[in-house]
């Protein structure tokens, strides 16, 4: 029995016990409402906690779910309990649409788009009177839960049991997802979207999936709400409900799934507790939101975890009790030669010709250095090779396949992976989690495997972990597994960046100034790592200003100056060329001491 199945059964058992034991109509009502709000808060937390996207319009999904159930019952005469699962569908669809709309943009656009959509639906529900009865409200008759009487449950007990039967699987499945590659992709997208793309994560798709799930859950909550409210009114779409969802997540805490659960429970009880405030009830919510964001950003659960040792225990459990032995890194088998073929590539920024008509080849298994003075266009060229910048003209082929114009994650999946000049790691995650994020392409698990947490998926997860450890071993950072990536010294962060790129299984590795900021020992270590990678058959393109290290390492150098290629050849041959020396030292005629020394 897997952990998910065990927890699912335990959760359902708990729900059954609570539903049987609770007799007071008041507490049954509060408990059921807490469950509905918890499902809603989980929906909000998927987008907010994982992607960092705030929504001011999750009531759109809530209302959509409720009206779907209500209309199917009133207009078609279907049984409410039978249509309940269908409520998820419109939420998923609207979520996917909103995901497509905002996936390319920042979270601010998502906040605006959700608010506007909720407002549109509110208008629609108020004015399409023939369908929704407008502000008068849609009265929904809910038949008794089938089979409830046989168990001896009254209507309220049965309602609570149904809410629980929706909440428990939602919780367990979401927990599985968060612990899977899918969930880690969301973490990566939240913290470092460009890095995520560079590692082969399809960020736009992952965002759409996330928001669709978030909408589906919120719509399910809306469907579940029907027996409580009885009469559906357009106010369901109102900003009060959206705000309740956000506040439940913030107050409860968004870092773990227990936060939304607690938040949901709080908000089922709070309106009663705050009744004495009368109309200022909502003002109290707003004040709590303000205070919570300012002084309790991790929410109650997050705060408790920090105060107690819980956090460390969670972290240890999440990391697995024992790590598998590292799998040594094996480079991808040689494919067609040449590895990279760059033909007459240009990139213009308005009037500026950053790269102009550059052509060169990189053969499989060689290390090519890309050098040139500052502003020569090296990083621009690297960005075009990795899909981060479109080319203005020209073609780029990797192993005979055209890659110019592909999205970065497609280029990475094709085997061309880059590192970044500035350190790019998920700073608030541990080194181990960073590596697991980066290794997501190794033995991938499908969405449903991740969701259900199948045995096969867990096996693959372990293999992936072993692969990640192997890559980390390659750069010598295995003793740093539990350190937060952001707390590592600069040099180690850069090495981690290289290890992450390796974990994405490149055939061609593009390194943008890997040695910048490294001290002499670290640079030497890096050069050793790169040589070893070549020995394993990997192809490397390295941009760096540490010419001494670079020249001792590379098979060939390509020299750029003002965006134009001025030399291409073996290191000793290139450094004696007058145009290269001039590019580096202006008009001086004597060969650069450093270059001569470096090539010696």
């Amino acid at each position: 029995m897997t952990r998910s199945v065990r927890d699912l059964l335990l959760g359902l058992l708990l729900v059954a016990i609570v539903a049987t034991v609770l007799r007071s109509a008041y507490w049954l009502d509060v408990a059921a409402y807490a469950g509905v709000l918890a499902v809603f808060a989980l929906g909000v937390a998927v987008a907010f906690g994982q992607l960092g996207y705030v929504s001011f319009g999750h009531a759109a999904f809530l209302g959509l779910g409720a009206y779907t159930a209500g209309l199917l019952v009133t207009a078609l005469g279907w049984n409410y309990w039978a249509v309940l699962p269908l409520c998820v569908i419109p939420g998923l669809l609207l979520g996917a649409l909103l995901g497509v709309i905002s996936a390319r943009l920042s979270g601010a656009y998502f906040a605006i788009a959700t608010l506007v959509v909720a407002e549109m639906l509110l208008l629609l529900a108020s004015h399409w009177v023939e369908l929704t009865h407008g502000p008068m409200g849609l009265m929904v008759s809910v038949s008794p839960v089938p089979g409830a009487q046989a168990i001896g449950w009254n209507a309220q007990q049965a309602y609570l049991a149904v809410v629980g039967a929706a909440l428990v699987p939602a919780f367990v499945l979401l927990r599985n997802l968060r612990a899977s590659a899918t969930g880690r992709c969301w973490d990566a997208i939240r913290e470092a979207p460009a890095l995520a793309e560079s590692l082969g994560i399809a960020t736009a798709q992952a965002r759409v999936l996330n928001i669709a799930l978030s909408g589906g859950l919120a719509a399910l909550a809306g469907g579940l709400l029907v027996p409580k409210v009885f009469v559906l009114s357009p106010a369901l779409f109102g900003v009060t409900n959206s705000a309740t969802g956000i506040l439940a997540v913030i107050l409860g805490g968004k870092a773990t799934l227990f936060g939304p659960l607690l938040g949901g429970a709080l908000f089922a009880a709070l309106p009663e507790a705050l009744r004495f405030l009368g109309e200022l009830n909502f003002a109290a919510f707003a004040l709590m939101l303000l205070i919570a964001v300012r002084v309790l950003p991790d929410g109650i659960v997050g705060w408790l975890m920090k105060r107690t040792a819980l956090q460390r225990r969670f972290a240890r459990r999440a990391a697995g009790d024992a790590l598998p032995p590292a799998t040594p890194l094996v480079a991808r088998a040689h494919r067609a030669d040449p590895a990279l073929q760059v033909r007459q590539v240009s990139r213009h920024f308005k009037g500026l010709k950053a790269v102009e008509d550059v052509s060169f080849e990189v053969r499989s298994g060689e290390i090519v250095g890309l050098i040139g003075p500052n502003g020569a266009g090296k990083t621009t060229l690297l960005s075009m090779l990795s899909g981060f910048l479109p080319t203005t003209h020209g073609s780029i082929q990797a192993f005979g396949q055209d890659i110019a114009g592909l999205a970065p994650h497609r280029v990475a999946r094709g085997g061309v992976v880059r590192s970044f000049q500035q350190t790019a790691v998920c700073a608030s995650q541990t080194v181990l989690v960073n590596m697991r994020i980066a290794a997501h392409l190794h033995r991938p698990v499908g969405f449903f495997g991740a969701l259900v947490g199948t045995t096969a998926a867990r096996l693959r997860e372990r293999e992936r972990l072993a692969h990640a450890l192997g890559c980390l071993q390659e750069v010598g950072l295995v003793d740093r597994l539990d350190a937060l990536a952001g707390s590592l010294p600069y040099g180690e962060q850069k090495l981690l960046g290289v290890a992450m790129a390796l974990a994405a299984e490149p055939a061609v590795l593009l390194l943008d100034e890997p040695a910048a900021g490294l001290n002499h020992t670290e640079a030497t270590r890096l050069a050793g790592v790169l040589r070893e990678l070549r020995a394993k058959g990997m192809t490397l393109v390295v941009v760096d200003h540490n010419l001494k290290m670079l020249m001792s390492l590379v098979d060939r150098v390509v020299v750029l100056h003002h965006g134009v290629k001025i030399a291409d050849g073996a290191p000793h041959e290139v450094t004696t060329r007058t145009e290269v020396v001039q590019a580096y030292l202006g008009q001086a005629a004597a060969p650069a001491e450093e270059m001569a020394e470096a090539s010696a």
């Binding site: 601010a108 906040a111 705000a243 003002a283 939101l289 303000l290």
Partner: protein, 288 residues
């Protein structure tokens, strides 16, 4: 073109100019601080309320009440900035947190107004008089809105071009890092920009109050319209905001001839979603 249509275009333009100021405030704060003020609408509402109170309770003339609205807007902006923006900016998740805190401040402002002055709408008498031009009537208030908005836009343009404050604003909008390097006090500049944006919003509220009439729910409606405008114009683009504001004012007024007002509003929202789907950088924004 029928006279009715022409009339609606003129009416739409005057409302559009009011929207332009409000949206400009929103986009100014975004351009400089990269934050979205979800309480912006309530600042507009407070501006309108100021005019209501000043003209009806205090018996002040409209032209004196109007600067008061800008002042109240700026004051509210100062409070928002102190409590909900400046302290959170240094955080890594600051921009997200500010969405939440400004939203909370907006709700607080709305609730306070509701509990003190109640939910009842109120009428404001603006400038009196009307002009006829070839069958199209233009009230003095609408003409004044157009004139005052254009004057404000031109003044802001001059501010951005000619003053040290304006040049620094543009520098920060272009690159915060570079601005810091050359010694611009980005933090204080951001606060001043936020307060200026709120002042413009309050002024816009005061301008629109006589033609749209005041109610506490005004803020929410205006906020969403301002969002639609800045998103369609491209967040952070001043020109985009002005052009789209005029466009939306006119479209709304023209649709109002044929369909219910709320259907017209719904259509405008739909336009925004369509823009996001087809041209996410905004109609006038450039793809970068």
């Amino acid at each position: 073109m029928s006279e009715a249509l022409l009339q609606q275009i003129v009416n739409g333009l005057s409302v559009g100019f009011g929207y332009a100021l409000i949206a400009l405030g929103l986009t100014l704060a975004f351009g400089v601080l990269h934050v979205i003020n979800f309480g912006h609408g309530e600042v507009v509402m407070l501006g309108a309320l100021t005019v209501v109170i000043a003209t009806t309770k205090l018996g002040l003339p409209y032209l004196i009440a109007l600067p008061l609205a800008a002042l109240v807007g700026a004051l509210v902006g100062w409070v928002f900035n102190r409590l909900a923006v400046a302290p959170l900016l240094p955080r890594e998740s600051g921009r997200t947190d500010i969405l939440l805190t400004t939203f909370a401040m907006g709700v607080l402002a709305y609730q306070v107004v509701l509990s003190i002055w109640g939910p009842a709408p109120a009428r404001v008498d603006g400038l009196q008089g009307r002009f006829e031009l070839g069958g199209v009537a233009l009230t003095a208030q609408r003409l004044f809105i157009i004139g005052a908005s254009i004057a404000t836009l031109l003044a802001l343009e001059q501010l951005a071009r000619r003053t040290r404050f304006g040049v620094e604003l543009r520098a920060v909008a272009q690159s915060e890092h570079a601005a810091r390097v050359v010694g611009i006090d980005v933090k204080s500049l951001g606060s001043r920009a936020f307060i200026l944006a709120a002042g413009i919003a309050g002024f816009g509220g005061g301008l629109l109050a006589p033609i749209t009439s005041y109610s506490p729910a005004l803020g929410q409606a205006v906020l969403i319209k301002a969002f639609v405008i800045v998103v369609m114009g491209g967040l952070g683009s001043a020109l985009g905001a002005v052009v789209c504001a005029l466009g939306i004012g006119v479209i709304e007024a023209m649709l109002g001839l044929y369909v219910d007002e709320s259907v017209a509003t719904g259509c405008v929202y739909g336009l925004m979603l369509l823009t996001l789907l087809l041209r996410p950088q905004g109609l006038l924004g450039s793809r970068t």
